[in-house]
């Protein structure tokens, strides 16, 4: 592990990505890092002035993993010196966490902690829908998707506007993104519309991705409605008047495929209702809602709502799988296979085999299969830094004037002795 931190972990890239500039700013210096040490010792409120300082401390403590929190009003390590109430989170990437466990009730290939390339398809759909929605609806551009090392994926959004969101605004955004609601005992988990009206526009857009995904994943690959448990769950979501005949049919035809069952639902609605009629609408909206319930991204809302939530840093190693938390390109998410992500053991072997016997070098990762992933982060950080530079240049003088003017407006009058 120590060798991994010393020779492979891309501290410089992480620094650029968190700091947005070359020279250290508060975005890095006032940023909280939290270390998990061997024996589950948890150290919070660590902070560093430079990438080297971070590296030194990580190498000294050799944590199993470390997490990244918000930028605070003061340096987290000086937290105790701050006046009470004066130590507050200010900025933080907007983050999302999607975890396979939230799909346990649907997926048939694996359960619990395990994940295979087949169930990864759920994550892939979630990434596509979220990525598209965040870019189109909210206009954010600097999205970094990171594999969580086992069965999930994280999203870090670094746009200035996203970093500045208050908890209240984060909560609103999460509300916008949340479609699946309700626990085990609630069958229907999608309640988006007033009676039979249209879906909200953003959800309508996502259906373009979700409808084909429903066929591919739910009907074909996972075959969710083949088992009795699976189709009985489906019947809970179908308008009452169709249930009896479908139940009859499916009880007799043991082992009927999900695909055929979904066709049965469609035919049932088609033959029993007139086109454009109210009952037809009831049927088709129910089908839409079923598609959403089985495929819409299931996000862990609590992670996204609070600026001070800590999230595992990219390129950390998952303690159970040994896999590195590497960035993922959303445009090729379908080809991503979590089982092919390099493990720390594999990387160290690769490093040994690279005959280069020179001294340890901060970019030793270039000699290993970690290379494309680090380059992905570097490219992302570079674009982000370029944007920050551009905005700074544009604002420059203007800010200065506004600040002076604003100050005068307030203090000028009130410090006047005539008051």
């Amino acid at each position: 592990m120590l060798t991994f931190y010393r020779r492979l972990y891309p501290f410089k890239s992480i620094f650029h990505w968190l700091n947005h500039e070359h020279t250290p700013t508060k975005l890095f210096m006032n940023r909280e890092f939290a270390f998990t040490l061997q024996g589950d010792v948890y150290l919070r409120y660590q902070s560093f002035t430079t990438a080297d300082e971070l590296k030194k401390q990580v190498c000294a403590m050799n944590p199993t993993r470390f997490e990244i929190g918000p930028m605070y009003t003061a340096r987290p390590r000086d937290k105790k010196l701050a006046r009470p109430g004066a130590f507050q989170p200010v900025m933080r990437e907007l983050v999302f966490d999607i975890d396979m466990t939230d799909y346990d009730s649907i997926r048939t290939c694996c359960s619990d902690a395990s994940i295979c390339s087949r169930c990864w398809a759920f994550i892939a759909v979630a990434v596509k829908v979220l990525d598209q929605s965040i870019r189109n609806n909210f206009g954010y551009k600097y999205l970094l998707w990171v594999y969580s090392g086992r069965r999930g994926i994280h999203l870090w959004i670094s746009d200035r506007e996203a970093m500045e969101l208050t908890d209240e605004q984060r909560k609103a955004l999460v509300g916008w993104m949340t479609v699946i609601q309700g626990g085990k005992d609630q069958h229907k988990k999608v309640n988006l519309r007033l009676s039979l009206r249209q879906l909200p526009p953003s959800i309508l857009d996502s259906l373009e991705v979700l409808v084909p995904a429903f066929t591919d994943i739910i009907l074909d690959d996972q075959d969710c409605f083949r088992s009795e448990e699976g189709w009985r769950e489906l019947l809970h979501l179908i308008p009452k008047n169709y249930v009896e005949s479908l139940e009859d049919k499916w009880e007799k035809d043991y082992d009927r495929s999900s695909h055929s069952k979904w066709e049965d639902v469609k035919n049932e609605i088609k033959t029993k209702t007139q086109k454009g009629s109210q009952p037809r609408l009831t049927g088709t909206t129910a089908m839409e809602d079923i598609i959403l319930q089985y495929t819409y991204p299931r996000i862990d809302a609590e992670v996204s709502k609070h600026r001070n939530h800590l999230l595992k840093a990219p390129f950390c190693v998952h303690p159970k799988t040994g896999r590195v938390c590497v960035p993922v390109d959303p445009s090729t998410i379908d080809d991503f296979n979590p089982e092919r992500v390099p493990t720390v053991g594999q990387l160290l072997r690769e490093l040994d085999q690279a005959k280069d016997t020179g001294d340890e070098h901060h970019s030793d990762w270039e000699k290993t299969s970690l290379k494309p992933y680090v380059e992905m982060l570097d490219k992302h950080a570079l674009e982000l830094m370029e944007e920050v530079r551009r905005v700074k240049r544009e604002r420059g003088q203007g800010v200065h004037l506004i600040r002076r003017h604003g100050l005068h407006a307030l203090t000028g009058r009130f410090s006047d002795t005539s008051w």
Binding site: F138, E161, G175, W176, L192, G406
Partner: protein, 489 residues
């Protein structure tokens, strides 16, 4: 660079000649010109009354329409703000007072998070009430005058996104308006962070971080904006507050103001204020009056005095001044206290107590006319020790004692055990004057008082003498009505 500077200067000049063309004010420019310390204080106090009224309305869970009605009634007394169309000569002065009061209170309320939160809530509510009441056209002019950063959505763009706008509208339109009228409806583009509540419920179409808000929802943006900018401004004010040191008269005043918000606005109450009662009170009457008309604090002092035949210094002060303002003349006061301290020799009474009683009537020493203590003073100054009986029972009693005392004092006037939970929960949330007001309402139901009506037009109790005098007025009114009935039959 030069042109930017020039524009700024021009703006500043424009603002300084600008008076008050609009009734509504976003308070983003500080008031200009000289202000006397008296004006400073009056403007702030009068505004504070309104804000405190709004707070207590929230504490009492008044429905919006009722809150609005009570607040407007108070505004018409203390903080009139007429429409421009009223062509009143004093609209300008009204608006200046409104403007000034707001800024003084900012100074008082920027100093703790709790105060900021409550101030912002009350101010935003006041703004909302006025906004809803404003003349439609004047409101439109006001909105036009402000640069909210709202972009009008051009008709072509509305057409381009017609299906999305319709889909968004279907999430909230009432059944009859299933389809929005896109040609007639105006839309505005705003950064989505300005309308988080609309976003959270997916009630708007979002594109590139901009929310497309129908003009119907415009008001919610305005309120959000008002609140947001006030929150920011208070933090800026806080940063610059130390500079006010230059005028030492201001800080105690500000302290006073912020305490007023916590305890209700102190009102001066003198015997001349209580017009309805008229008749003088004699020492014999006090006992009877205490049972029918006194607020809990005075009732407690009276009962203690009867039981112990004595009251400690602050208790005598609080009760004595209250009785003075209630209408007890100096002669009657001396008689009352002499009789009450029944275990004491005349000699001791004359030596140790007579002077103080005369002093409180302004007949000794510096001959000042001391006013009776307001709720605010009782709540906040001279905290009672364990042996004391002054103070405000709602604040200074334990919850157990408070409930027992309430029942024993007021059950003859209609207060029952079932009323206690409401009073207790108000006390727990720190709204002592609201609790007292609620007890007033409960104990005056027989006189026709309803829940929410408060001491007068929905006003909360802010002074023990206000409580007592209003109670006596109510009784008198009922008696007069009965007299009328008798003559008719």
């Amino acid at each position: 660079m030069f042109s930017i500077r020039k524009k700024f200067v021009a703006e500043v000049e424009k603002h300084s000649t600008l008076k008050y063309p609009h009734r509504l004010n976003f308070y983003d420019q500080p008031p200009l010109g000289e202000v006397t310390i008296e004006e400073f204080e009056t403007c702030a106090l009068d505004r504070l009354r309104i804000l405190a009224e709004i707070e207590s309305s929230f504490a009492r869970n008044r429905p919006w329409e009722e809150l609005k009605r009570f607040t407007l009634e108070q505004c018409s007394k203390y903080l009139r703000l007429d429409a421009s169309s009223a062509h009143k000569q004093d609209t300008e002065a009204q608006r200046r007072k409104d403007h000034l009061g707001h800024f003084v209170l900012r100074l008082a309320f920027c100093r703790s998070e709790e105060l900021r939160r409550r101030f912002v809530k009350a101010e935003t509510t006041l703004f909302r009430i006025r906004y809803e009441e404003d003349d439609r056209q004047e409101r439109e002019e006001f909105l036009q005058s402000r640069k909210f950063g709202w972009e009008s959505v051009e008709p072509e763009e509305v057409k381009q996104y017609a299906s999305q706008l319709k889909a968004a509208a279907s999430t909230y339109l009432p059944p009859k308006e299933f389809e929005p009228n896109l040609e007639a409806d105006k839309y505005y583009k705003v950064p989505w962070t300005r309308v988080p509540d609309l976003v959270e419920r997916r009630k708007v179409f979002l594109k590139g971080g901009k929310a497309y808000v129908p003009s119907k929802e415009q008001s919610s943006i305005v309120f959000e904006e008002f609140q947001r900018s006030l929150e920011k401004a208070l933090l800026v004010t806080l940063k610059h507050l130390p500079r006010l040191d230059e005028d030492t008269r201001i800080f105690p005043l500000l302290d006073n103001l912020s305490q007023g918000f916590l305890a209700g606005v102190s009102s001066e109450w003198s015997s001349t204020t209580s017009s309805a009662t008229g008749d003088e009170i004699t020492a014999d009457m006090v006992d009877e009056l205490s049972r029918r008309h006194f607020p809990m604090c005075m009732r407690h002092l009276h009962d203690t005095l009867k039981r112990d035949k004595h009251l400690k210094h602050f208790g005598r002060l609080q009760y004595g001044l209250f009785l003075k303002v209630l209408g007890l003349s100096i002669e009657e006061a001396l008689a009352f206290w002499r009789r009450s301290f029944s275990g004491m020799t005349d000699d001791k009474f004359n030596k140790e107590y007579k002077y103080n009683i005369r002093h409180s009537y302004g007949l000794e020493g510096k001959r000042a006319n001391y006013p009776a203590k307001s709720c605010q003073q009782i709540l906040l100054s001279d905290q009672p020790g364990p042996q004391d009986s002054h103070g405000c029972p709602y604040r200074h009693f334990s919850l157990d004692n408070l409930q027992t005392a309430l029942l024993s004092m007021y059950s003859s006037q209609g207060l029952t055990v079932s009323d206690l939970p409401e009073v207790v929960s108000t006390v727990k949330s720190g709204h002592y004057h609201v609790a007292c007001t609620r007890v007033f309402e409960i104990t005056h139901t027989a006189q026709g008082l309803k829940k929410g009506e408060g001491v007068d037009d929905g006003e909360s109790v802010t002074h023990p003498n206000q409580y007592a005098s209003r109670s006596r007025e109510l009784e008198k009114k009922v008696k007069e009505e009965m007299d009328v009935d008798v003559t008719v039959t």
